[in-house]
Symmetry: C2
Subunit: 138 residues, 2 copies
DNA sequence: CGCCTTATCGACAATGATTATCAATTGCAG
DNA sequence: CTGCAATTGATAATCATTGTCGATAAGGCG
């Protein structure tokens, strides 16, 4: 838990490109981000995209969620923002950031109750957004 | 959402073996269950274990959680029990079943608020159990 | 009780996401 | 500017999981 043990990575062209692309706030797989970058003329390699996204996820600069298919999806999250959660559409993937006010406290309480410490939690909420529901309802 | 559209599977030797092994209430990967069965003399195939665990997970007879490594872990859950959650130790894997009283309602409310329907949720709580904490604290 | 249809098996190949390898490149400290 | 270690990218390797397909056996029927 030491912020100093993470040497800031070099600011390479590739890393800049990725940070840049991430401005499209939308969940995509590493491979999808790679494709997009390529299609925009970048010559960045797939492995580099994986490495960058992972390190960004660790440092908290991007959100990573695991899709049902097992692939990991990444999206930029607000700079310096705290831990938060999303409600994602199962059909189109659109995500809304939500607020789970007392969950942190709740999680800690549950942990204490069972003697567990250092509690982490992941909440995945998925549903069907209005548009997709309308389309499917036809 | 029709319980009748799931034809009950044939009760084969293999399926019985799996159901049997699952009595050890502990999260293990499909591969780990397979190994255990083999080590006990079974000749069951890996693909069969995967298939059985998946169908059991769908019918709600076992719990499936996705580990950080990406592999899926399975464990038997109480017969006919409702949707529930676990607090799992990140170190030794031991899991406690927990109660998240109003979360269902909360999830539905969040969904409604954003116009999303058919909400599903996954909650993953992980921590460090007392034993592991003691061991690590040394 | 045997037969037959068909679900299920199991060995193995195939897939698909992610990770490791390693020589070439390039930030960036001095 | 120089040099070295961090980073890159093409590619091979991993690893969990799924597909394939001939062989086997569950279980309904006569």
């Amino acid at each position: 838990m030491n912020a100093a043990d993470a040497p800031r990575p070099r600011m390479t062209r590739q890393r800049r490109e990725i940070l840049d692309a991430l401005d499209l706030s939308e969940f995509r797989s590493a491979q999808a981000w790679h494709e997009r970058l390529r299609s925009e003329g970048s010559t960045i390699g797939l492995a580099t995209v994986y490495r960058a996204l992972q390190s960004l996820a660790e440092s908290g600069e991007v959100d990573a969620v695991v899709a049902e298919s097992g692939e990991t999806l990444y999206r930029r999250c607000e700079a310096g923002e705290e831990h938060h959660h999303h409600l994602r559409c199962r059909v189109c993937g659109k995500a809304v950031e939500i607020d789970v006010p007392d969950f942190e406290a709740f999680a800690a309480a549950i942990g204490r109750e069972h003697g567990y410490g250092d509690i982490l939690h992941t909440i995945e909420l998925t549903g069907v957004c209005p548009e997709c529901a309308a389309r499917a309802g036809a």
